[in-house]
Structures are given as structure tokens and as C-alpha cells.
Symmetry: C2
Subunit: 101 residues, 2 copies
DNA sequence: CCCTTGGTTCGAAAAAAGTCGAACCATCGA
DNA sequence: TCGATGGTTCGACTTTTTTCGAACCAAGGG
């Protein structure tokens, strides 16, 4: 593994992909947890604590490829961050309205 | 056919369903057309003008069941309206940010 | 009446997405 | 350097979603 996973540039982020990524309750829950700041992946449980790790990893992949989160290696762990700056710049007000709903 | 199709009550509308309905480019295009006011279904083309009518009808069903639009009989046609009041009340700012993006 | 028009529903097939075990990989601590 | 830890990727399977023709339906017009 290269360690660094691919992330879309800001200019490549598509509104429909972001909406799709957020349209799943588990992925939305993850996104909400990241609204308060970055988290270790291990510290970030969706709703089900017994979720298989491959499934959890897949959720993160969908969010990452849509441009909603960053997933970067951090020591032996993964640091997850919400791409708030990019999303706010591209779609002003969208993230806030989703998180506040 | 009863003529009147089922619509969710405002209280039944789910954020994730709305996000999913808007996460498809065709359905988003339809929604944008309705932002300026109600339209006859016949007057509301998505992107492809040669879209089969059953496919178009299905798009409308997804949007209707998510609570994004109303689809009501109007003479021999169908009147489509964006449920802006309901969406604004439930998810303030969401619709505007999506439409302005 | 019948026929056209505008639209829904059904059914089946294809495409996409979700799920998860197993294998793999990279890093840190002992 | 070995093992444990935290996570990704692969592969196969299940489920959901999409697509669209064909059948159907309701309302108006001739």
C-alpha cells in the first residue's frame, strides 16, 4: 500500500457525489462526528460498534472519494478530517445545513 | 390508479432520503427547474429530451417519495411543485445551498 | 362514444452499491 | 526482528437501484 490514499482536488469535487455520500445514515453519522474536529479512525465509531472493519473502511472510502473527508496516515493510525474548507468554498451553507438538520 | 399519489407528511421526510433523491444529476436537474415555480410534467424535461416516459415517471417517484416534490393531478396533466416550505422548515438552508451550488 | 394524450404501474433484466471474511500491509513496541 | 495493532484491498455474494417496454388508466376532444 502506498500509505497515502487518493483524494479528489477541490476542483474535482462533484455536488452529486457529496450528496450521495451523505445520503447514508452511517456515513452521515461519521461525518457528524468529524464536525467537531479530526479523529483517529479507531476513535470514530459509526452507529454499530461491532461493524466489520472492512465495511467501515468502505464507508470511509466513499466519503473520501466524494471529497467529504480526508484520510491520512498518522503514525500507525489514520487521521480523519472533514474537508470543511473545500466544501464551504464549493457549496456555501450546504455542510452547515446538513449538520444542523 | 387513485389519481392521487402518496406523499410523505412533512414530519415523515428524512434527510437521508432527500439527499439521496438529489444525488442523481437527472433528478437534481428536475429539482432545479422547479425552483422557479410549479411546472406541468410535460413541460419539465430533465437533460435527455428522449427519455422514456416510464423512466421519467420513476425519477418523479423517487423525488416525490423523498418529499422533495409534489405530483398532483391537474386536469389531464400532472402539476409538479417543489416542496420548498416543508424542506426549508425541516432543513433550513439546505435547498438554497443545493440550488445555488 | 372512441381515440388521443399524458402519465402510472408492472415485470424483467442490467447495473450499481453494500457486506464482510480473508489476505495483505505498514508501523510500533518489546 | 517478531508480534500485535490498525487499517486497506480483494473476491464473492446479496441487495438495491436503474432502465425501459408493455400494459394499463383517466380525462378531454371530436
Amino acid at each position: 500500500m502506498a500509505g497515502d490514499l487518493p483524494h479528489p482536488e477541490r476542483s474535482e469535487i462533484q455536488l452529486t457525489d457529496v450528496l450521495f455520500a451523505l445520503s447514508d445514515p452511517e456515513r452521515l453519522a461519521i461525518t457528524r462526528q468529524l464536525a467537531d474536529g479530526p479523529l483517529d479512525m479507531a476513535a470514530c465509531h459509526a452507529t454499530d460498534p461491532d461493524l466489520p472493519k472492512s465495511t467501515k473502511s468502505h464507508f470511509m472510502k466513499v466519503l473520501r472519494e466524494a471529497g467529504v473527508i480526508r484520510n491520512e496516515p498518522h503514525g500507525r493510525r489514520r487521521m480523519l478530517t472533514l474537508r470543511r474548507d473545500d466544501l464551504d468554498a464549493l457549496f456555501p451553507g450546504l455542510l452547515d445545513s446538513v449538520l444542523n438538520a
